[in-house]
């Protein structure tokens, strides 16, 4: 059959050059952002930008080599973060950021691999992957922006939507029990687990520094307002109102108690660092249990042959 494709407009010389965005470099952190990508897509009052800033600050303060830092994300509002960072960044399929990152990390263990994604991406469609990556203790840093809803698609109910919360798919109020993300990550075997709200910018940044320097699977939950999709339907007010609520209702929890750290609609928020343990990572275990033994077995075989 003869193929006739309608001609695609060729790349103009202007497009072929790296697009300069207006005012790139106006902000000192712009050097960590890809040129031509700002302004970002997030709504006014959205907390994902704060998480992104915290991450950049963490990158700056920890002295991590940007050339050796890779950010992988899935699908959703939070997952769009990857596209703005001036690093090697991969925006993958829905829920698969962690297995993709697993591949990136294991094929080149010297990379510092960070996953930035949302609660729906990591715990609904990607729920199986996060528990197994935590179980294996793969050296990844997971930053989960939890806004209790699917923002990108307009505010549907998800695995973190609190009981009673209105969303487009829970018009009478959510009736399912939500996941307690920090409890789940800890139970699955994460080496580092923390939860902060986006109001706790410095703690969030420090947690990110900790998580990047921590060998093993680390998980940070960043509670973030979604004024457009979640707050509006649940009469939680503007982003600012939610930030005030974070200030008022968040408190430092001493331990990871399941009920204490559960999150309800406009309820108290237990924040803090819940898990910080040292244990061999996946690669440590692989090297000591598999690679070394394989080498020994090969040696023995050789001796037998002789």
């Amino acid at each position: 059959m003869k193929n006739i494709f309608i001609d695609a407009p060729p790349l103009t010389p202007d497009q072929a050059k790296l697009g300069r965005s207006k005012g790139y470099g106006d902000h000192p952190l712009d050097k960590y952002l890809k040129e031509g990508r700002i302004p970002h897509i997030w709504c006014s009052g959205c907390g994902i930008g704060i998480v992104l800033t915290a991450f950049i600050k963490a990158l700056e303060k920890s002295g991590a080599d940007p050339d050796k830092t890779v950010v992988v994300s899935g699908i959703g509002c939070s997952a769009r973060s990857a596209g703005y960072l001036n690093l090697d960044t991969y925006h993958t399929t829905h829920g698969r950021a962690i297995p993709f990152a697993t591949g990136v990390k294991l094929a080149n263990p010297e990379l510092n691999v960070v996953v930035i994604s949302g609660d729906g991406d990591l715990f609904a469609i990607g729920g199986n992957h996060i528990i197994h990556a935590a179980r294996r203790n793969i050296d990844l840093s997971i930053i989960c922006v939890n806004n209790f809803t699917y923002g990108m698609t307009g505010g549907q109910g998800g695995p973190t939507t609190p009981v009673g919360a209105i969303s487009t798919t829970t018009p009478y109020g959510a009736s399912e029990y939500p996941f307690n993300l920090v409890y789940m990550a800890a139970a699955a075997g994460a080496s580092y687990v923390a939860r902060w709200t986006v109001l706790h910018t410095r703690e969030l940044r420090d947690a990110m520094i900790d998580s990047m320097s921590k060998p093993g699977f680390s998980f940070i939950e960043a509670i973030s307002p979604c004024p457009t999709a979640h707050a509006r339907r649940n009469k939680l007010g503007s982003g600012l109102d939610i930030m005030r609520y974070y200030k008022e209702k968040s408190y430092l929890a001493d331990e990871l108690d399941r009920d204490e750290t559960a999150l309800g609609l406009a309820d108290k928020i237990a924040i803090g660092k819940f898990v910080d343990v040292e244990k061999p990572t996946y690669l440590d275990m692989y090297n000591s249990h598999v690679a070394d033994r394989a080498a020994q077995a090969a040696k023995k075989k050789k001796k037998k042959k002789k």
Partner: protein, 385 residues
């Protein structure tokens, strides 16, 4: 030092193990998979062999994760591989689409079993041919190779890696249960005799590099994570810089190129084994384990004086359109008999390419066993008459 990755010598191994050894010989040092009959032996072999050669074998939680992991490993510069069968292949479709979109080279060995659904886990089928081509949503082109013996499973796995790296495309080794579980002589050559195609890496600095700006042959050079190129790769429709570009223009440019880079090179990619075509009145078209029966039948028919020829597809995708078209126009050829263990998948392609110039007959089996030569012989005899 002996090269432990390439086990040069003569072996008596099955097609799955040959496939794993082919991967190792081709430089595969990363395997992510999930056990599934009849592909488990590939994973088992890799689990044993990869740690011996400094590679990583990881058993993921499912096939979705396996496929995603090899996409990621490919971005880190590895030559990665996974293996699966029907149900797992269905799960992999999502990220085969991602691999096509991100243009990450990787190899997927699908040791086909009979379906639909769980079907016949331990018995043969060739029903994933169209799924291999069209399985993931959206438009893309793919390469699929089908071995007819353990020896070919070894060789085609190496070819699969080379094609993947050359064209930046996921390549599917479309084997089947019979080939996977058949034990035969496999000769593994010396490493110097094995051609390894390296990935095209950028020859310009990070400042000027646009990750999806293709060379003249529509294939963009690929940077490796950690090399300082700071690229963005996304499954969204993207422009040449890798940034999302949600527009009809970007879509047109990108998807046309994804399709074109394989279609315009089809002549170079397509490989077939041709037998007695010069004067053939009936051409049998087959691939994989069915190819073995077909060869036997063609030889018997020739001995009986019937003018029967054979085309065995080594590359199932891209399809050998040109060859079938030419054969259909060849005055001697009256009919094609397509032999496959499904209800007619390659038969559709043959019929399309024949364009009414020759009749197309499907010899189909729903799976569970190979064709027996005598039952195929009957079909051919009828076709010749």
């Amino acid at each position: 030092m002996e090269n432990r990755a390439v086990l040069t010598g003569t072996h008596f191994i099955n097609g799955d193990i040959a496939c794993a050894e082919g991967g190792l010989a081709a430089g595969c040092r990363f395997f992510a998979g999930y056990p599934i009959t009849p592909a488990t032996e590939v994973a088992e072999r890799m689990a044993r062999r990869l740690p011996q050669v400094g590679g990583i074998y990881i058993q993921m939680e499912d096939e979705l994760a396996s496929m995603a992991a090899i996409c990621g490993a490919s971005c880190s510069g590895a030559r990665p591989m996974t293996s699966t069968s029907g149900p797992g292949f269905s799960l992999m479709m999502e990220n085969i689409g991602l691999a096509a979109m991100l243009e990450t080279p990787c190899v997927i060995a699908n040791i086909q079993r009979a379906g639909p659904s769980t079907g016949l886990p331990t018995l043969v089928g060739q029903q994933d041919v169209m799924q291999a081509r069209w399985g993931s949503h959206g438009d893309y082109e793919i390469i699929a190779l089908s071995p007819e013996s353990p020896q070919e499973a070894f060789e085609l796995t190496i070819d699969a890696f080379n094609l993947a790296e050359k064209y930046r495309v996921p390549v599917i080794l479309l084997s089947d249960e019979i080939i996977g579980h058949m034990t035969e002589k496999v000769v593994i050559p010396h490493p110097d005799e094995i051609e390894i195609v390296k990935r095209r890496s950028p020859n310009i600095g990070p400042k000027d590099y646009a990750p999806y700006y293709p060379d003249e042959d529509d294939i963009p050079p690929m940077s490796t994570a950690g090399d300082g190129y700071h690229i963005h790769a996304t499954g969204l429709t993207h422009n040449e810089h890798g940034y999302p570009d949600i527009s009809a223009d970007a879509q047109e440019r990108l998807v046309q190129r994804l399709v074109r880079k394989i279609r315009s090179n089809a002549d170079r990619i397509v490989r077939t084994e041709n037998l007695y075509l010069d004067d053939a009145e009936v051409v049998m078209v087959s691939y994989g384990c069915s190819g073995r029966t077909t060869r036997e039948v063609v030889e018997t028919a020739r001995a009986d004086g019937m003018k029967v020829g054979m085309v065995r597809l080594i590359t199932v995708w891209p399809f050998a359109e040109q060859l079938i078209r030419e054969l259909a126009e060849q005055s001697s050829v009256g009919a094609f008999v397509v032999v496959e263990i499904n209800s007619g998948q390659i038969a559709l392609e043959v019929e399309r390419c024949a364009g009414g110039n020759a009749e197309t007959v499907l010899a189909g089996l729903m799976g569970g066993r190979m064709f027996a030569p005598d039952e195929l012989y009957k079909v051919v005899k009828e076709a010749v008459l």
